[in-house]
Every structure is written in structure tokens, then in C-alpha cells.
């Protein structure tokens, strides 16, 4: 059975005619071609498919599109603004926090949610926030360092950014 679903993703409105049983993960990847959203288990165990819904991390493999209609969905594709990478993206690239890069989109949006709530998190707070996102490459070390670096830069840049344009 199909249904018309209204989604707001990365600031854009979409109307999707799709099967009601498809997960948010499937609709984002297959109907909206947002393949930056990855999957590692499709059972809610690895955190790879995380997206933000109204600023909160949600496992898109366990969410149904109908539950999140007309709410703000953010995927990794929506992190960069006007082609300028988010400070988290820059820090991850600079420090080698993305090795194979497959878990990276889910980790980036989860870290963004953390920094939006807590601009100056302790390392333990970062560990806690990312505890649901598995990474097999990095040993997490460079990920934690990159979140700290991004947080530091965002704290410095935040006041200036308000006056841009």
C-alpha cells in the first residue's frame, strides 16, 4: 500500500508517494537519493543511519516516514551550508577522523546534535553522546579529538558568524 508522505529534509520540502512500510532510511536513500545516509544493520544496533529529527538523533532504520512528517530532518548532506563544510566536517577531514568513512555521516549528525545542545562538552560527554555509533576503523580517538576541535572553533567563530552577510 502506498501513501503520500510530506517530508522536510535539509530545509527542502518533499512529497513522496511511497509504500507505507518503508523505513525513513529507505525513503531517504531510495526515494530522495540521499545516499549519504548509510546503514550498517537495519536493526537499530549500530547508529550508522542516524539522522536528526528536530535536532535530535534518530535511527532512520527504525523510524517510519509517517512519524516524522513535517518535522525538520537533517542528513549529512544538509550539514554544509552554501557549499561551506560544517566545522565538524572540516575537523573530521583534517584530523583523519574518517577512515573508511562509512560510519561518518551518522557520527557527524550525532555530534552536531551534541554541540548544538552543549557547545563545550567534556570528552566524557562526547563519549556518552557517541556511544551508540559504532566505528570499526578509528578506535574513536581521532573522532573524539575532531569533535573537540570543531567545538573549539565553533565557540570562537560563533559570535562573528552572526554578522556575516
Amino acid at each position: 500500500m502506498k501513501q503520500l508522505i510530506h517530508l522536510r529534509v535539509n530545509g527542502e520540502k518533499h512529497e513522496v508517494w511511497t509504500s507505507v512500510h518503508k523505513t525513513l532510511l529507505e525513503v531517504l536513500r531510495e526515494d530522495l537519493q540521499l545516499t549519504g545516509v548509510k546503514h550498517g544493520c537495519e536493526l537499530g544496533e549500530c547508529g550508522t543511519c542516524t539522522v536528526l529529527v528536530d535536532g535530535e538523533p534518530v535511527l532512520s532504520c527504525l523510524a517510519l516516514p509517517i512519524e516524522v512528517q513535517d518535522r525538520e530532518i537533517l542528513t549529512v548532506e544538509g550539514l554544509a551550508q552554501q557549499g561551506r563544510p560544517h566545522p565538524l566536517q572540516t575537523a573530521f577531514a583534517e584530523l583523519g577522523a574518517a577512515q573508511c568513512g562509512y560510519c561518518t555521516p551518522g557520527i557527524l549528525v550525532t555530534a552536531k546534535a551534541l554541540l548544538d545542545h552543549n557547545p563545550n562538552p567534556t570528552r566524557d560527554a562526547i563519549r556518552e553522546a557517541l556511544a551508540g555509533n559504532l566505528c570499526r576503523c578509528t578506535g574513536y580517538t581521532k573522532i573524539l579529538q575532531a569533535v573537540e576541535l570543531a567545538a573549539e572553533r565553533m565557540r570562537v567563530q560563533a559570535p562573528a558568524a552572526r554578522y556575516e552577510r
Partner: protein
């Protein structure tokens, strides 16, 4: 070395593909969609071991939306990664050998339809006796898993003797025998394996796949599908985690290719996470027995090592894995006499294969714990017993392995100093402890997987008139950064910016062959090939520039996108100008380089496994807190010093080292492939426990650089070696903390509690295997030690 020796090498640059990965732009195999694409699903065998009497696909084929169903009958040709173990088919046709062994595949318009069709395939099984353990495979009667191998369920039997271990043991002041068990575990890459096949009207097949070894997939497809290599193109998509788990050609790759040929439509498959656990090829469970003789000062006089590998249902790399459990014991400390007996058994479980460290973490675990026990018995420090008897540089081992550079001594010193090991060892309060272990690993296998005399890798470079440099190589980036190493290397030699390099990699139609991302071979081999190709072009460009500037060519250098006089930098041309002059003089600018390892194998059977152009070295200290109430082991911090020869990019070396330590900790403390009632107990990421941010401690990486004479800029490997010392360092730390020996991994709380219980009862405070099966190995092949090997 001054900072200015290199423009790019040794600098902590971002990886060339970093921005693609952090923006979500990078396209992994499952991110590819083609028009009219079908989706494939696999039917797995329901029994651990059963003859397939009859399969009927009629009802599945009749389901609307199903386009094709294939079974083993459609893919009868056997293949396997090793020429000696051609025991797999795209889909199993004669029998299923483990629960989940793929026996049929469906292509349908969507995944749901394909899944429903699987349920409609009717299979008549005739169950056979199943072998789920080393013991069962050795002793239980009945039809063996395969009809080839060394006898019954024994896939491979090895017995080698170097020098005179009997005399060595007789001359020892102290001899100990210990048994150890290293549990099997899996790679658990975040990306599920995926492959997309397209068969076009011109009779050409293209396969995009998340593989570490596109060249071997290319060969396997040709063999199993009966298509010439020239009509098959394999493209390795960026791999979302490999660790060895995507190094075999897989049945699902062959099945989607066949389905694409039958249907004339693109067909994609993405394994479910459960199926990834069945595809496996992970760490072999290995039961080990070690007898070592030492003099009072700790010098080893002889070692006798026995290994029993639980291989799972297929050969995979297993013959090599078996040899690897006996090969590298000799490359750290001087061993003048050595005997190795090993066997690999077929069992009805997902096949084991190469996982990071391939066959060597298991014996390293045994060796380093036993050394810790010997040191204690002789009243020696764990540092001294290792430090005083290191192999010499530019020497050979008793089993004929050539050692070039070795900075293990410096690694030990630095790891011990950074961690305060000697101040802490046996001095921390009860419940806290430190452990030391060392290791060594290959920098590329000295021999190819299939016998040939051709290069192991080649690099092609072409330069356009604007100064853009295109580099082509079959190497495959699995996250370790091999694309970046390729770009850095060429950029360094040609004196251009990394951003001026375009890469074309891992595409069998476009790129010269590289054997794949395994055995830590890529940086060393590809790096050397890239330097050779780039130097040819550098020479042409400098010659042409010298003519133009009326200077001798050796007065010039290339750096920062300019060609200039070393003594007068104002006499210069931009790289692009120089390229145009060179093209006018020499014609189109292109060059190739290749690398073939030196011939290191010796005239004895089995000598092909172990030789490497160079060995990396690591020393690791782990500090733990052990809760005697719960048995829980918390790793507080890990210090690791790694001799990588030269860090092409220290950021990437750190990343590989941190990732290796993390993976070693997972193996040491929690990861295991468990089976219950003939099937995988926990084929899910939640129940297969792996460390999260909360369990992974601080890791301090110390890079030790002693350039190796054969390495590109002196580089050796960093991707696998640093895993090896971690599990034994943790086990030794647990002993230091609470005085119990856990001689098997994972070191779980129940084992620690059990051992503490024994200790309280005055029994031997140890959990681990009692011994190994009483198996009579055949008389060993006797090999005289290499003349430059350590002597008794």
C-alpha cells in the same frame, strides 16, 4: 632528518578523499542505482551439513515481480582464493556446509519480492553429521565436510623443523609448556558487503563491489562464468571497512553477475548484517601448545609450537593462515632452533580466513604470555627478557626469513618509558596492573597468491599540458588511506601539490594490476612502483627544463609546483611550463613503474608463507583495572610504539595504530563468534559485542621511524602489526593486577572470576585450555637453519 627533506612525505595532511567522506558524497557499492536495476537475495542452507537432494524454484519463479532464480546447478564451476583450495561455488550445489551457506539466489523488482520468493523455493535436505569444533572434526566419524584435504576433515597438515630443537631444549636451564586458546572473531565492517552487476548488449560484464581484491574477483568471475577476462570489468567501490573480510571473491558477487547475464538487467545485492556474519572469513579460533627452552638469562634455546585451527566450512586463505600460525614467531627474538606443527580443520561453520594480522595474533598471544611467565619464573624483568635477545638487523631467522630493519628495541624503550612500566609492574595496588607485549608483522607477502613471475603492482602516470597529473593504479582504498599514499608519493617526486593529482584506482579496465589490499603490502609495493614511474617523468621534465634554462639537469629540482636551480631559485619554470617543454621535446608524457618483491622463498615446502620485503615492529603496554567482585577488566590506557620505517603521513599511521589497538582490545575482552545448536549464536551487531566509545580507552601512539632500505622513502607497514601485541599485553596486565592467568581470549568477567575462585581455593589460578588433542603429526620436514640465523 630536517623538516625540509621532503615537501609532502611526513606531513600530517588530510586524506585525499576526506571531504568526500565527510560530506556524504562518496559512493559505496550500495549507493549505486542503475535504471531497470533488479535486487537480489540469497537463500541460505538451513542445516549445518546436509546434502541437497532436490531444489525446486518453480513456485518462486511464478511469483509476480520475480525475474530469475538460480541455484548451484547454474554455477557449477569451483573457485577459491588459493589455487590449492578450489572448493567454493557461486551457490552451493552438492551440499550445504553451514547454516547460512548460500544455495539459491533470486532477482526481483524489489527486495521485498525477492525475500518472499526465497520462502517459495523448495529444498529437500538429507542432513549429515555436523562438526562444530576442533575436537569433533578430528574425532567424529561420518562424511567429511569436503572430499579433499590432508585426511578426513583435516584441510592442511604442516610439520616443519628448523635446526635441532631437541638439543636446544636439552641445553635449556628452564623449559615450560603451556596451552592457549584464541577464540574466533569477525571483522564486523560497518558496511555490509554489496555488489552491483551489469551485463551489456555487447557481451561485457561490469561488477561494482565492496572488495579489497578486485583482481582476484576478476579472475574468479572469469573462471566461474566462463567469460574471458577481457570481457569482464571489476570496479572496487570505496570499501566501508574491510580488515581482511572482503579479500575473498564471494559467492554473492558471482551470483549477481550470473543473474545480470540471465536477465539482461543490472542486479544489485546487499548482504544483510546476518549474512555478513555468515560470509565471515574472520579470525580462526586456534588452540595452541608451546614448549620453550631458555637459559637462566632468558635467552631462548629452542621453541616447539603446535596449532590447531578451526577453519570453518571452506578453504579460503586457510592454507596460508595455517602456515602463518607458525611463521613469524622467529622474527622478534633470537630463536636458534624451532619446530612447528599445525593443522587446519574443516568444520560446519562460516569459513574463517584473513583478519587483520592473518594467523599471527593467535601465536603471538601465546608466545608473549609464555615469555611473561618465563620472566617471572626466572626473576627477570619482562623488558629485559625481550630487550636483550632481539633479532639483529640485516640477519636471517632460523626459518630463513630475511630481517632488514628492526627498531623493536627503541619501541620497547619508548613504550616502557611513556607508560612508566618498570615503576608500575608488580608495584601497583591489587586490582591494578600493567602488561607488556611485542610483535612483528609482514610488510607485504613475498609471494603472489597464484604462482607467476609478474609484478605485484604497477602504477601508470600521465601528465597533461596544464600540469595536471593523473595516476592510475589497481590499488584499493579500504579506509587505510592507500589512495592518499599514492597521491603523496607521486606529488613528492614530481614536486607538485597533492591537489594537482587525479587518481584512477581499482578498476580492472583502466588501471594496471595491483594484487589488492591485504598482507599490509600496498604502501610498500605501490609506493615503490609509484616512485619508479614518477622518477621517469621527473627525469624527462628536468632534462627538458635544463635545456631551456641552459643548466645541467642535476642542478635542478622539482618542488612546490616549480622546477628550479637549487643554487639560484630565481632560475625556474612553473611545473606546467616545464611539462609543455618536456612534451615538445619527448612527446606525450606518460610512464609506468612496477614492483616485484625480491625472491625470498627457500627450497622447502611452506617457505612461501612468511617471507616479506620488510617487517614492522610494535611494543605495547596496557594498564588495566580489574574488579575482583565482578571480574570486569577495564583497560585504563594503552601505550604503543610502532616501528613503521617512515611515516609517509603520521596522521594516517596514528589512525591505523589506534584502530589496530581498538580492534585488539575488542578481541582481548569481548569479541567472539559463538555457536549454539549448530548455528551462529549471535549474528547481530548488538549481541556480537564490540567496543564503543565508552569501552575504548585513551591510546598513546609513539611512531618510531627507522627507514627501511627497501621501503618507499623507508616506509614499512602500519595497518595490521599494531593489533598483535594488544591481547597478550592485556592478559599480562590482568595477571599483574590480580595474579590470575587467563590463557584464552576473550578475557571475559566470568573467566576472571573463575580464576580468582581457583586462587582462593589454593588451586592453579588459571583459566585456559588444559592441553591440545593427542594428535600424531607426521615426521617433520627438516630444514637446516639459515647460515646467518642465531645459533645455540
Amino acid at each position: 632528518m630536517s623538516d625540509n627533506e621532503f615537501a609532502i612525505i611526513g606531513k600530517p595532511l588530510p586524506k585525499v578523499d576526506a571531504l568526500g567522506k565527510v560530506t556524504g558524497e562518496t559512493k559505496y557499492a550500495d549507493d549505486l542505482f542503475l535504471p531497470r536495476m533488479l535486487y537480489a537475495k540469497l537463500l541460505g542452507c538451513h542445516y549445518p551439513h546436509a546434502r541437497l537432494k532436490h531444489i525446486s524454484a518453480a513456485r518462486a519463479e511464478a511469483l509476480p515481480g520475480v525475474v530469475a532464480v538460480i541455484t548451484g546447478a547454474d554455477l557449477p564451476v569451483k573457485y577459491g582464493i588459493l589455487p590449492s583450495s578450489q572448493d567454493e561455488t557461486g551457490l552451493s550445489g552438492d551440499k550445504g556446509r553451514f547454516v547460512g551457506d548460500p544455495i539459491a539466489a533470486v532477482a526481483a523488482v524489489d527486495e521485498e519480492t525477492a525475500e518472499r520468493a526465497l520462502e517459495l523455493i523448495e529444498v529437500e535436505y538429507a542432513p549429515l553429521p555436523a562438526y562444530l569444533s576442533i575436537e569433533e572434526a578430528l574425532t567424529k566419524g561420518g562424511e567429511p565436510v569436503h572430499d579433499y584435504g590432508d585426511q578426513g576433515n583435516i584441510h592442511k597438515l604442516v610439520s616443519l623443523e628448523f635446526g635441532d630443537p631437541e638439543t636446544g631444549l636439552a641445553q635449556a636451564d628452564y623449559v615450560r609448556e603451556d596451552a592457549f586458546f584464541y577464540q574466533g572473531n569477525t571483522h564486523l565492517p560497518m558496511e555490509q558487503h554489496a555488489a552491483l552487476a551489469q551485463y551489456t548488449a555487447d557481451g561485457k560484464l561490469t561488477l561494482w563491489s565492496s572488495t579489497q581484491t578486485p583482481h582476484y574477483v576478476h579472475r574468479a568471475l572469469s573462471r566461474t562464468l566462463g567469460l574471458p577476462l577481457s570481457r569482464i570489468r571489476v570496479i572496487a567501490t570505496p570499501v566501508g571497512g574491510g580488515f581482511g573480510g572482503k579479500s575473498d571473491p564471494f559467492g554473492h558477487e558471482i551470483a549477481v553477475a550470473k543473474l545480470a547475464m540471465i536477465t539482461g538487467r543490472p542486479v544489485k545485492i546487499t548482504l544483510t548484517r546476518e549474512e555478513v556474519f555468515y560470509a565471515h572469513r574472520g579470525r580462526h579460533p586456534v588452540l595452541m601448545w608451546v614448549k620453550t627452552g631458555v637459559r637462566k638469562d632468558g635467552a631462548i634455546t629452542a621453541m616447539h609450537f603446535k596449532t590447531f585451527l578451526d577453519g570453518g566450512a571452506y578453504g579460503s586463505y586457510g592454507v596460508a593462515s595455517t602456515y602463518y600460525t607458525g611463521a613469524l614467531q622467529t622474527v622478534t627474538y633470537k630463536i636458534p632452533a624451532y619446530k612447528f606443527e599445525g593443522l587446519r580443520l574443516f568444520t560446519n561453520k562460516p569459513p574463517c580466513g584473513p583478519k587483520r594480522g592473518h594467523g599471527t595474533p593467535q601465536p603471538r598471544f601465546a608466545l608473549e604470555i609464555q615469555l611473561d611467565k618465563i620472566a617471572e619464573a626466572l626473576g627477570l624483568s619482562p623488558v629485559d627478557i625481550r630487550r636483550k635477545f632481539l633479532v639483529d638487523e640485516n640477519s636471517y631467522t632460523v626459518n630463513h626469513l630475511r630481517i632488514t630493519s628492526c627498531a623493536l628495541g627503541e619501541c620497547i624503550d619508548k613504550a616502557a618509558a611513556a607508560s612508566g612500566f618498570l615503576q608500575k609492574h608488580r608495584k601497583l595496588p591489587f586490582g591494578k596492573g600493567v602488561g607488556l607485549a611485542c610483535s612483528s608483522y609482514l610488510t607485504g607477502a613475498g609471494l603472489p597468491i597464484y604462482w607467476n613471475n609478474m609484478p605485484h603492482t604497477s602504477v601508470q602516470i600521465k601528465i597533461d599540458r596544464g600540469g595536471g597529473v593523473t595516476v592510475l593504479c589497481g590499488e584499493t582504498d579500504i579506509g587505510q588511506g592507500s589512495d592518499s599514499v599514492l597521491a603523496y608519493t607521486v606529488a613528492e617526486v614530481l614536486g607538485v601539490n597533492v591537489s594537482d593529482i587525479q587518481l584512477v584506482t581499482s578498476d580492472t579496465d583502466l588501471t594496471p594490476i595491483d594484487l589488492g589490499s591485504y598482507s599490509s603490502r600496498v604502501t610498500f609495493m605501490m609506493g615503490n612502483a609509484a616512485i619508479e614511474a614518477a622518477q621517469k617523468l621527473r627525469k624527462l621534465i628536468l632534462e627538458a627544463t635544463a635545456e631551456k634554462l641552459e643548466l645541467p639537469a642535476d642542478a635542478l629540482t622539482a618542488r612546490g609546483n616549480r622546477i628550479y636551480n637549487v643554487d639560484n631559485e630565481r632560475q625556474s619554470l612553473s611545473f606546467a611550463e616545464a611539462v609543455q617543454i618536456a612534451e615538445a621535446k619527448h612527446g606525450a608524457l606518460g610512464a609506468m613503474g612496477s614492483y616485484t618483491p625480491p625472491k625470498l622463498a627457500r627450497p622447502f615446502r611452506g617457505s612461501g608463507v612468511g617471507p616479506s620485503p620488510a617487517y614492522s615492529y610494535s611494543a605495547c603496554v596496557a594498564q588495566v583495572d580489574v574488579d575482583p567482585e565482578t571480574g570486569e577488566v577495564k583497560v585504563v590506557k594503552v601505550w604503543i610504539a610502532h616501528d613503521c620505517g617512515r611515516a609517509i603521513n603520521p596522521l594516517l599511521v596514528q589512525g591505523q595504530t589506534e584502530g589496530s589497538v581498538y580492534m585488539g582490545l575488542g578481541e582481548a575482552l569481548m569479541e567472539e563468534q559463538e555457536f549454539r545448536r549448530n548455528q551462529h549464536k549471535i549474528p547481530s551487531m548488538l549481541e556480537y559485542k564490540s567496543p564503543t566509545t565508552l569501552e575504548t580507552p585513551e591510546i598513546e601512539t609513539i611512531i618510531v621511524e627507522r627507514p627501511d632500505p627497501g621501503g618507499p622513502f623507508g616506509a614499512k607497514e602500519a595497518g595490521q602489526g599494531p593489533l598483535l601485541p594488544v591481547p597478550p599485553a592485556v592478559a599480562n596486565a590482568v595477571y599483574d593486577a590480580v595474579g590470575v592467568r587467563i590463557d584464552e581470549i576473550p578475557i571475559t568477567p566470568d573467566k576472571v572470576l573463575k580464576a580468582l575462585g581457583y586462587k582462593a581455593e589454593g588451586k592453579e589460578p588459571r583459566v585456559g585450555p588444559k592441553g591440545v588433542p593427542a594428535f600424531e603429526f607426521p615426521d617433520p620436514i627438516h630444514v637446516e637453519p639459515h647460515p646467518q640465523a642465531p645459533r645455540l
